[in-house]
């Protein structure tokens, strides 16, 4: 029996009926081949509208459904569900967009109606070739991989672990903590970063549900939502984590220097010990030192082995090699954070060539009570600065570097100003473009700073130099800036300048993105599934992004996202199963010649070559149905379900069939 198509035309109140001659369109539809019945209704998406379709399907009058109404992005699901309820495969339905792409955008009624007729003819022809598709489900492994052990990863991992789910937390550095561990205070509440972070780090280290892999990197990710296979490289620490008790004898006696011990204050900036065997900082988790091969005398010159001699636990092992661990997880959370922009590329700011020009990260370390200056703000020569400039937007909001706003600099610049005022008698200048104090308590913090005798100059700093004019400026930096509120170029001598550098995508983020089959945008950050409705999800099911991996953001937003992602993961785990794309591509083995044209076209690595059968095969669980391989297959051995050649040819013919 030939296919019987039911055509349903929606008036959408006057949204469609006001511009399209419904009667004419219905009359046209009736004459099309395979059309069994045509109905029109005020609102097809309403219950009575849906019931029209349902009763026709249930009465067996039709076996294909075409609804001419709004965009499929609006109501495709609604009508698919109607089909399902009526016991008909939802893929036997197709939609004609005569609202968004017709009645709403064309002025003339005659041409709108004509266009609607063409679109409808295309849908009807397409409908004839539609094929029922099976819904597919995959089981979700309840274990989760969190990549990155900064505050984002810590929060996400703890949320999941507390809910009783297993987590593997992989951190590239020897300790978790990330950037937050380097901070002294956090804005705008000025609470001590270590005081709020350290307990959480300790929890991570001790949690029964968390397998912490520090000093480790994800090497490979294969598989798909619910079933990812992970391979992690555990880099060699040269210290046996099971034996070490973190006594500290090794780094006290180590003659090697990872951070120069000589030199000025700024050259010696460090959070942890400066020796070759070191702890990144004293609260590190795990509290196990690591040997820096580059500066270790034994690795470089072949002798020393002092740490080995002083270690009472015999934990030092110079022969340790990188090892690999493989495991499976159901979901992945990318929490890789950021790296600070390197301002030395902006030559006119003199970073790296002029003394006393510091980046914000260096300034944070200097402020940190456990750092090498003991939290004191000092010039390179060890004296206290009398004046400090804080330059905003270094590398951010700048077409030459990053167009985006890094979102945190204004606030940490204010925090710096406050800390300087608290710790020194220095004068503080903030050079800003705009002050963006948009968070809870942020504007109030700015207000507070205004009362702390901090100067604000609105203007982008043009140059930082040593062009001193007078004797008392001789050790100073000269900042030239246009004060745009006054309308004059100012020349300000300062003892020290802090550059508020942009937050950049973390080094290696592209690699992680590629492994997870997610896209990065122009700015280098991972593209979320939807900027508003899916900010922590990605186009790849089971892969989530939190914190700066998605875009620059501050700690509260990062933590909120981390909890959002962990809740999304929990929702997946609790479901136990997930429905995956039914409209995938399929290789017909009997037609595949094994030419391998398609093999590296798949962004999801869903296509593999079966060496025995000499044919390519698609892992349908990985396939997202983009159809790139289908268009490329020179022998049409690959079909795109729901978008196959026959369906699209029928649409083309329908669109162009003369009326």
């Amino acid at each position: 029996m030939p296919e019987r198509v039911g055509v349903y035309i929606c008036h959408c109140g006057s949204n469609i009926a006001g511009k399209i001659d419904i009667e004419k369109l219905a009359g046209f539809a009736e004459k099309l081949d395979n059309v069994a019945l045509v109905r029109d209704y005020k609102f097809m998406c309403s219950d009575p509208g849906q019931n029209l379709i349902q009763s026709d399907l249930e009465a067996g009058l039709i076996d294909r459904v075409v609804v001419a109404s709004c965009s499929p992005l609006m109501h495709e699901n609604t009508f698919r569900k109607v089909c399902e309820r009526s016991g008909v495969n939802p893929y036997l339905f197709t939609m004609t967009n005569i609202r968004e792409q017709c009645s709403w955008v064309h002025i003339d009624e005659a041409s709108s109606t004509e266009k609607a007729m063409d679109l409808l003819a295309a849908s009807v022809r397409r409908a004839v070739y539609l094929e029922p598709l099976e819904k597919r489900e995959v089981a979700i492994n309840p274990r989760t991989l969190v990549i990155g052990g900064g505050i984002a990863g810590i929060q996400a991992a703890l949320d999941l672990a507390e809910a009783g789910k297993e987590v593997v937390l992989v951190e590239r550095e020897p300790s978790i903590g990330g950037h937050m561990a380097k901070f002294d205070k956090t804005f705008p509440t000025l609470d001590c970063a270590a005081c709020i972070l350290t307990p959480r780090m300790v929890q991570i280290g001790q949690h029964a549900n968390i397998h912490l892999m520090s000093y480790a990197e994800v090497e490979e990710i294969n598989g798909y939502v619910g079933n990812f296979n992970i391979k992690v490289r555990q880099k060699a620490r040269y210290v046996d984590a099971d034996l070490c008790n973190g006594c500290g004898m090794c780094w006290e006696k180590c003659p090697g220097t990872r951070v120069p011990r000589k030199g000025n204050v700024h050259e010696k900036l460090s959070l942890g010990p400066t020796s070759s065997i070191y702890m990144p900082f004293m609260q590190a988790i795990p509290a196990i030192p690591v040997i820096d091969r580059e500066s270790c005398l034994y690795f470089q010159k072949g002798k020393c082995r002092i740490c080995e001699q002083v270690c009472e636990r015999n934990a030092i092992n110079y022969d340790m090699e990188d090892s690999f661990e493989e495991f499976e997880v159901g979901n992945i959370i990318i929490a890789t954070g950021f790296q600070p922009f390197d301002p030395s590329v902006i030559k006119r700011y003199g970073y790296g060539t002029l003394p006393n020009v510091l980046t914000s990260v260096e300034f944070e370390i200097m402020n940190c009570a456990s750092g090498s200056t003991g939290g004191k703000i000092l010039k390179a020569d060890g004296t206290e600065p009398k004046s400090i400039g804080i330059v905003h937007c270094v590398g951010s909001r700048d077409k030459h570097y990053h167009e985006y706003c890094s979102r945190v600099c204004c606030m940490y610049a204010l925090k710096f100003a406050h800390l300087i005022k608290e710790k020194t008698d220095a004068e503080v200048y903030n050079f800003y473009i705009d002050l963006r104090c948009f968070g809870k308590g942020y504007e109030e913090f700015y207000d507070r700073l205004l009362g702390e005798d901090v100067r604000f100059i609105r203007g982008k700093v043009g140059e930082i130099s040593r062009w001193v004019a007078e004797e008392d400026e001789k050790d100073q930096l000269i900042v030239r800036v246009e004060d745009t509120l006054v309308g004059a170029v100012r020349r300000i001598p300062l003892d020290m300048v802090v550059l508020c550098t942009a937050l950049e995508k973390q080094d290696g983020l592209d690699r992680v993105a590629k492994m997870c089959s997610v896209s990065v945008g122009k700015d280098g950050f991972i593209i979320e599934k939807h900027p508003k409705l899916g900010p922590v999800s990605t186009a790849t099911d089971g892969v989530f992004i939190v914190g700066v991996a998605q875009s620059p953001k501050d700690i509260p937003d990062t933590v909120a996202q981390a909890s959002a992602a962990s809740s999304a993961v929990l929702s997946m785990i609790t479901r136990e199963k997930i429905e995956i794309e039914a409209a995938t591509a399929e290789i017909i083995e009997e037609k595949c010649s094994g030419c391998r044209i398609c093999n590296n076209l798949c962004p999801y690595l869903a296509i593999n070559f079966d060496e025995e059968k000499k044919v390519s095969i698609i892992n349908e669980a990985l396939c997202k149905g983009c159809g790139t391989c289908v268009a490329a297959c020179p022998s049409n051995a690959i079909t795109a379900k729901h978008f196959n050649d026959k369906q699209i040819f029928a649409e083309i013919e329908g669109l162009l069939s003369a009326r």
């Binding site: 010649s593 030419c595 391998r596 044209i597 049409n636």
Partner: protein, 317 residues
């Protein structure tokens, strides 16, 4: 009962007929199974003999060659009438073949080049062949030279296709044996060839493909073990039906698609274009252009044998 068969050639080179002869001793089997009622290259039957047959008298007509002129079409129509099954033999009848390359030109452009501009022809009056010519004894006529070369199935219904330029002799034999064994597949099928693309029977090692430059065969010494396409040599094997035994490939030259497209591929050339473009390396427009610059004469390469059978058939006038 022996089958009654007519063999004819339209715009062909005779290679298909020779391929039938090249079945060697199998020819004896063919002769045992079939009586031949027309075969201009080998036997002396005239058109009149065919016209005198009852309609449907022949069990099969095997037609090689493209439809290049009205005589080709006329005999195709005649044979169609006189036989139960029509078989297109070889690339020309199947796809238009090499004569189909004329579809990049018009009839007038062709005739001018051949009869007037030809370096070896003295034709000061610019005479081109006439369709009829009165001599004092009477009227002579020649077939009309067509503007557009057609495939056999564009002028008559065709039941089966035996592809190739020329078809592999053994494949012809096995295709013919389907007739006498009464095992013919559904009408419209390609017989005497494979169901997959040539890569299936190509002995070269195939890997993932990324092409950053195309080369011409004289510019490189190709690695005999490796896929041509991966070495930057345009090869149509991936889009071409197998069955030839990879004879070109084994002789060290890439495939040009004489066996035609696979089932459900409406346009071999355009499909190959898609496949090749898909595996280019660059992403930037300028770099893509640079790579594409290295493909010489793309359309006539992709449509070497199949222009008349492609969707657009010919160059628009």
């Amino acid at each position: 009962m022996k089958l009654k068969v007519g063999i004819y050639w339209g715009a062909a080179c005779g290679g298909c007929d020779v391929a039938i002869l090249d079945t060697h001793e199998k020819l004896l089997d063919i002769a045992a199974k079939m009586d031949i009622y027309l075969w201009p290259i080998a036997l002396d039957f005239k058109y009149d003999d065919v016209k005198k047959m009852e309609d449907g008298y022949l069990d099969a007509a095997i037609y090689s060659g493209a439809i290049r002129n009205s005589e080709n079409e006329e005999i195709a129509i005649l044979l169609r009438k006189k036989s139960k099954v029509m078989i297109a033999l070889g690339a020309c009848a199947h796809l238009g073949g090499i004569p189909g390359l004329a579809n990049f030109y018009t009839r007038d452009e062709m005739l001018k080049r051949i009869y007037i501009d030809s370096e070896s022809t003295i034709n000061e009056e610019g005479v081109i062949p006439l369709e009829s010519w009165n001599v004092k004894e009477g009227e002579l006529d020649l077939p009309r030279f067509y503007n557009t070369v057609k495939t056999l199935d564009q002028v008559v219904d065709v039941e089966y296709y035996i592809p190739g330029c020329p078809p592999v002799p053994l494949q012809i034999y096995s295709a013919l044996s389907l007739i006498w064994d009464d095992m013919l597949p559904p009408v419209g099928s390609v017989i005497g060839a494979g169901d997959k693309a040539l890569c299936e029977s190509c002995p070269r090692v195939k890997e993932e493909k990324t092409i950053s430059e195309f080369k011409r065969i004289q510019q490189v010494l190709p690695d005999p073990e490796k896929c041509f396409l991966e070495q930057g040599l345009v090869c149509l094997g991936a889009a071409t039906r197998s069955g030839c035994g990879a004879r070109c490939i084994k002789s060290g030259v890439p495939c040009r698609g004489c066996y035609g497209p696979l089932d459900d591929v409406p346009d071999l050339g355009i499909k190959m274009l898609s496949a090749i473009a898909s595996v280019l390396e660059p992403k930037e427009e300028k770099e893509i252009d640079d790579v594409l610059d290295t493909i010489v004469d793309p359309l006539r390469t992709f449509h070497r044998f199949s222009m008349p059978a492609s969707i657009l058939r010919r160059k628009k006038e």
